[in-house]
């Protein structure tokens, strides 16, 4: 090889390596745009809403005066709606996931259910709101209530819970089942005593991710007609008199945190924008906390399981 050839080769190598470096930097920058957006969003809301983050803000009803308005009805509403969502979506989703993994034989019905779950995950959330408006609010007569909202979000996160349950179950090795069957356990006994307990961390992760999505959902709840200004709390679920629990709160009108934030965001006054930032900060903090818990579960509870 002449020296001219090797010089040319060296030049090509250098050029290619430069291309590599340039793309590595570009890719890293693209990634940083994402990460920095996240930080900017978080810090901007913290900064803009900081003054409003006082105990009063959590304990005050909404008000026409921005400085006295609070998120009491919003966080109570969010909490109660989440309760209904969890109670409806978790048993249904886990049962459906268990059925599809452990019971279903490979046939047309199973295929339809599977395709259907995949498709439901891609339906825009506002369409769930329309479903709930037609079915829960009017056809079933639940009205514009906490019950309707909770069930709507329950259906919305059902695919998330189902998919998480199935993935968790799929990772359990076959010999666990075979061992239990060999000892004479029935299918339900295997499921109840082995499959569900061992897949708990995975299921829990999915449930929390689903709930963190539900708590921020705004569009479907607006669609069923949540109020944006409410100055009363629903009846307490637990009371001092027999039978100590009552379900009147399910029928109550309500607002939730993201709707309260939307309401403030759509007002032109600067003071309300400040409230919106404060409410948004709380909302992001809640979704972050839930996501952090799910990541923690993923790393720590699963670590103990060694097949």
């Amino acid at each position: 090889m002449t020296s001219a050839d090797s010089a040319g080769l060296a030049r090509i190598i250098r050029r290619n390596k430069r291309g590599d470096l340039i793309f590595a930097i570009a890719g890293f920058l693209a990634l940083m745009i994402g990460v920095l957006t996240f930080l900017a969003l978080f810090l901007q809301m913290a900064y803009a809403g900081w003054e409003r983050l006082t105990p009063d803000f959590f304990m005050n009803f909404p008000s026409r005066r921005a400085s006295q308005a609070g998120i009491l009805t919003a966080w109570v509403g969010s909490l109660l709606v989440m309760l209904v969502t969890a109670v409806s979506a978790v048993p249904l989703g886990v049962a459906a996931g268990v059925y599809l993994e452990e019971y279903a034989s490979k046939n047309l019905v199973t295929d339809i259910i599977e395709i259907n779950v995949t498709n439901l995950a891609g339906v825009p959330s506002i369409v769930y709101g329309l479903l709930a408006l037609g079915v829960f609010v009017y056809a079933f007569g639940f009205g514009q209530s906490i019950l309707s909202a909770g069930l709507t979000l329950g259906l919305l996160i059902l695919p998330v819970v189902i998919v998480a349950t199935r993935e968790a179950i799929r990772s359990i090795p076959q010999y666990i089942r075979e061992g239990a069957y060999a000892l004479g356990a029935t299918r339900w006994q295997v499921t109840r005593d082995h499959i569900v307990p061992y897949s708990m961390p995975g299921i829990l992760t999915g449930v929390i991710i689903g709930m963190s999505r539900a708590i921020g959902e705004t569009a479907p709840i607006i669609t069923i007609g949540a109020l944006t200004f409410i100055a009363f709390l629903p009846e307490a679920p637990i009371g001092p008199d027999f039978p100590w629990v009552n379900f009147e709160w399910l029928k109550s009108g309500f607002t939730v945190l993201p709707i309260q934030m939307f309401n403030w965001t759509s007002r032109p006054e600067e003071a309300f924008q400040q409230n919106a930032a404060a409410a948004g900060f709380i909302l992001v903090l809640m979704t972050l906390a839930m996501n952090a818990v799910s990541i923690w579960i993923r790393y720590h509870l699963r670590k103990d399981i060694k097949w």
Partner: protein, 315 residues
């Protein structure tokens, strides 16, 4: 052995018929449980049927009053005026424009992130950064809406002073950022599914990482990457709160992103915020809008899944 069973004698020995009865009971219990689980699985199918039924039946009443042809061709959407006109085109233009802006942001950035994470980043970097992307994908869209209105649009106005306070450009850019994690994680999954031996073959021929990524990994993962794009577009089309907050609430038949406009989803929110009586034509119009939205996302979702299945290169 029979003599040493004094301890077991405390249990009455089961006769054969007892055992059969117990077994029958257990079997029927098993069947009941299986049926209950099956019923739970059917709830998802019922949800789909419910969506189709609600959208189609309410839209049917709507189309009894508004001819479907004028719905598809009229360029005015003025449901709240005395002289109400229901042409979906302005809302469609708003939806398409914001989605287009979002796609222009999300596809290049999402692809670059996917290539970087799958081909360039060290495992430690990947593990550190992916939770951030997951968090970015988990942020409620109302927060993004606020961010668009409070931060991104004022910044854009510094660059383009004539930009109005509500516009599709700002809403679309933020929407694009919101769907980056979705596009990048699907595209990265597709790229990482490409077997290592193909990369090694390419490296052995003297290719750099970038050349391998562009000429080997991307072509091999193309179906997965395209389906990531299409599913990302479907997300953008159905996205609601960002555009409801930041794009303005006036139907506007334009494809100019510098202008304010309303999308199909934002219209539904606007009507739901008001107080239209159940059964009125305005009430029915949100279901017709929802049906259009549903059809658009359905076609995109089916196309996305089909591309991934049909054109997947099997290794």
């Amino acid at each position: 052995m029979t003599t040493s069973l004094s301890g077991a004698a405390a249990f009455a020995p089961l006769t054969i018929s007892d055992r059969l009865a117990k077994k029958a009971l257990r079997n029927s219990k098993e069947r009941v449980i299986e049926f209950v689980l099956f019923a739970a699985a059917c709830v998802s199918v019922l949800t789909t049927l419910g969506i189709v039924w609600v959208l189609v039946s309410e839209s049917y009443h709507f189309f009894e009053n508004v001819p479907i042809w004028s719905f598809l061709s009229d360029t005015m959407w003025t449901p709240l005026f005395a002289d109400a006109r229901y042409g979906i085109l302005p809302l469609l233009a708003g939806t398409l424009t914001t989605s287009l802006v979002a796609v222009v942001v999300a596809i290049p950035l999402g692809t670059a992130i996917a290539i970087y994470l799958s081909e360039f980043a060290k495992p430690a970097v990947r593990e550190a950064v992916k939770p951030f992307l997951e968090l970015l994908g988990g942020i409620p869209s109302i927060i993004y809406g606020y961010f668009a209105l409070a931060v991104v649009i004022p910044l854009l106005q510094l660059l383009i002073p004539s930009l109005p306070g509500f516009n599709m450009l700002g809403a679309g850019i933020v929407m694009g950022i919101a769907i980056i994690p979705y596009v990048s994680s699907l595209a990265e999954d597709a790229m990482r599914a490409v077997p290592m031996s193909m990369r090694e073959g390419s490296y052995a021929m003297g290719s750099t990482k970038f050349q391998t990524a562009i000429r080997v990994v991307i072509p091999a993962a193309l179906s997965g990457i395209l389906s990531a794009y299409i599913l990302g577009i479907s997300r953008a089309v159905g996205e609601t709160m960002i555009v409801a907050v930041a794009a303005g609430m006036q139907p506007n038949f334009t494809m100019n992103p510098m202008e304010p406009a309303q999308t199909i989803s934002a219209y539904i929110v606007q009507v739901a915020l008001g107080d239209l009586p159940h059964g009125s034509i305005g009430y029915q119009s949100i279901f017709a809008a929802g049906l259009s939205l549903m059809l658009m996302t359905l076609v995109l979702n089916i196309a996305g899944h089909m591309i991934r299945r049909r054109y997947r290169e099997a290794y």
